[in-house]
């Protein structure tokens, strides 16, 4: 699947938030979106998925404008993984994951054996089968985030959209989430768009990166060309040092924030 945004522009009231944004993601690619707090990263995700309307510009899926897809059709191809927040009612993990089948079922239809099987497979893929009967309200942030990923996988999507999936998690859980995203892209060719606060995470899993600046402009391209010491300085007002090193013949990146500029 090819997912493209062409010249997207959006403003809240009169304040421009996103200005002339273009991006493109193909099957198996991971695009990471970086930017300071409050710059409109979540707004960008919502606009590109049609949850908010672009004021100018458009989103295309496989060359066809987003609006030409029916809601059901659209959400069978794209699955959204929001930040883990609990709702008022305590569903079990399994009930929560089965909800992911919604876009495949008719309005009055109940999930069937097949849907429950798909939900179980999704939980297995996310490695959380052991949480099956645990209540979402009794989970840690990391567990709940994995449940939401499993719910998105139950959609059987071509693309996953993550809104800061690893913030508020400890490092083990961060690694689990990041590895899962990369693995899904490599093995199942599910593309991903990921909002993140961490340049190092973007370098770890991203093929492409998009940086949103305060003035609504953006830079985008291959991750190692976009995330540089000078671009970080420009966007975050922070001098960073980007360090790459080999550990057991594998290349890793580290982005160390040094001081404010």
């Amino acid at each position: 699947m090819n997912f493209t945004v062409k010249k997207g522009t959006f403003s809240y009231g009169g304040t421009p938030v996103l200005n002339d944004i273009s991006l493109s993601v193909n099957s198996g690619e991971v695009l990471c979106i970086l930017g300071p707090n409050g710059v409109g990263k979540t707004t960008l995700l919502k606009c590109m998925m049609g949850l908010l309307k672009w004021q100018h510009g458009r989103t295309f899926i496989d060359g066809l404008p987003l609006e030409s897809y029916s809601q059901r059709n659209l959400w069978q191809r794209i699955a959204y993984v929001p930040q883990a927040k609990n709702s008022a009612f305590s569903f079990t993990a399994f009930d929560m994951v089965v909800l992911g089948r919604s876009s495949h079922l008719g309005v009055f239809e109940q999930p069937k054996e097949k849907d429950r099987d798909i939900a179980l497979t999704a939980m297995k893929e996310a490695g959380i089968l052991r949480l099956k009967d645990k209540l979402c309200t009794e989970m840690s942030g990391g567990e709940l985030q994995m449940v939401l990923i499993a719910r998105a996988l139950a959609v059987n999507p071509d693309m996953l959209v993550f809104d800061e999936p690893e913030s508020n998690l400890d490092f083990k859980n961060q690694l689990i989430i990041l590895d899962t995203i990369r693995k899904l892209a490599d093995v199942k060719h599910i593309s991903a768009v990921v909002n993140t606060h961490y340049p190092a995470h973007a370098m770890k899993i991203g093929d492409k990166a998009l940086i949103l600046n305060r003035d609504g402009s953006s830079d985008n391209g291959p991750v190692d060309q976009v995330i540089t010491e000078s671009s970080m300085r420009k966007t975050f007002d922070v001098q960073v040092h980007i360090n790459d090193f080999l550990y057991q013949q594998k290349k890793y990146f580290d982005v160390v924030p040094l001081f404010l500029v």
Partner: protein, 337 residues
């Protein structure tokens, strides 16, 4: 939760049978007391043409049966509407009154009583003002073409306050000798007015609303997620919400028009259902319907047979319901938190 211990088909069968058995037992209670075999004999009178006296016939068929049907229908409906509102607002404290529907319907009915309207007028006005208040609430809640849950709840509070003021105004202007007592009594809720005419006018709406919510029960889970999440499940949220709101309002307004406002049921029963079976609305809705019918049947039987004079049902639901609810809360710690 007892979910795991009971196989699904036994549970479903139990849920269907429970209100019927309760009804069968409750129908024997009262001044003219009947044993269970007698009750069954009289009820089957048309089929096996056994010996049944005129008194027995009139007690069972003209007095108690419509009242039993009314109690079961209203209990099932209000509980179902309560569960639906709670899912819709993802707020465990939402009740059929949240949208101001109960107050609106009460105002309509009270207005009809003030002008000595007949049964049909009471029902039509209750329905009309119930749906009107629902429409007002929905429009207050709509901002920039989208309806936000918190605005709907606030709108409901405002509309509810408005119609309660209107009810007070009607009470204030009512003749204290004969209109005011009947209005006050009616506001506290009573099934004593039950007759087949009442049922024929109100019950189909309750049935329709309940069926709609029952059919959408799994989708209610999605409605209780946050807006964008729910949207990303590929549902038309506006239409789905409107459908659930209208169905629930229909139930509430017809219940109010038939037997006045009955508090607590819409809050208490869905919570009992959740505490027993977990929060998945796929089970919460049918369990609420069954328990709601049973609960109101028992309460109403108590209301009409515990003392010589009839006790208004809202007093009973509060007096019995509140402590029971507190015990349940303390015991389970409230599973939704």
């Amino acid at each position: 939760m007892i979910k795991k211990k009971i196989p699904r088909h036994i549970l479903s069968a139990g849920l269907v049978v429970l209100p019927f058995i309760t009804a069968l037992i409750c129908i024997g209670f009262g001044r003219y007391s009947l044993s269970l075999p007698d009750t069954v004999r009289i009820l089957l009178y048309g089929i096996n043409s056994g010996k049944v006296s005129a008194v027995e016939k009139s007690v069972i068929f003209s007095v108690r049966l419509p009242r039993i049907i009314l109690a079961a229908g209203v209990g099932a409906g209000l509980s179902c509407a309560g569960a639906a509102f709670q899912g819709l607002f993802s707020n465990p404290l939402a009740t059929p009154d949240t949208l101001g529907v109960a107050s609106g319907a009460s105002f309509g009915a009270v207005l009809a009583l003030l002008f000595h309207g007949n049964l049909i007028t009471v029902q039509v006005l209750a329905l009309f003002f119930g749906l009107l208040s629902c429409a007002i609430t929905y429009n207050i809640g709509k901002l920039h073409g989208r309806s936000s849950i918190i605005m709907v709840v606030l709108g409901g509070m405002v509309v509810s306050a408005l119609f309660q003021a209107c009810v007070s105004l009607v009470k204030y202007t009512a003749d204290p000798e004969n209109e005011l007592p009947s209005i006050t009594y009616w506001l506290m809720g009573s099934m004593s007015g039950a007759g087949y005419n009442t049922l024929l006018l109100g019950l189909p709406f309750i049935f329709l609303g309940t069926m709609i919510i029952y059919a959408l029960r799994w989708r209610l889970n999605i409605l209780s997620l946050n807006e964008d999440e729910a949207h990303s499940m590929g549902m038309n949220l506006q239409i789905m919400r409107l459908t659930v709101i209208v169905a629930s309002s229909l139930i509430t307004a017809s219940a109010v028009s038939m037997c006045g406002s009955i508090g607590w049921v819409g809050l208490l029963v869905p919570h009992m259902a959740r505490m027993l079976m977990g929060s998945n609305n796929r089970t919460v809705i049918p369990v609420s319907i069954s328990l709601g019918a049973t609960f109101v049947l028992i309460i109403d039987t108590f209301a009409r047979s515990a003392t010589a004079a009839e006790i208004p049902i809202s007093i009973l639901t509060a007096v019995i319901g509140a402590p029971f609810f507190i015990i349940l809360l303390k015991k389970t710690g409230g599973v939704w938190t």
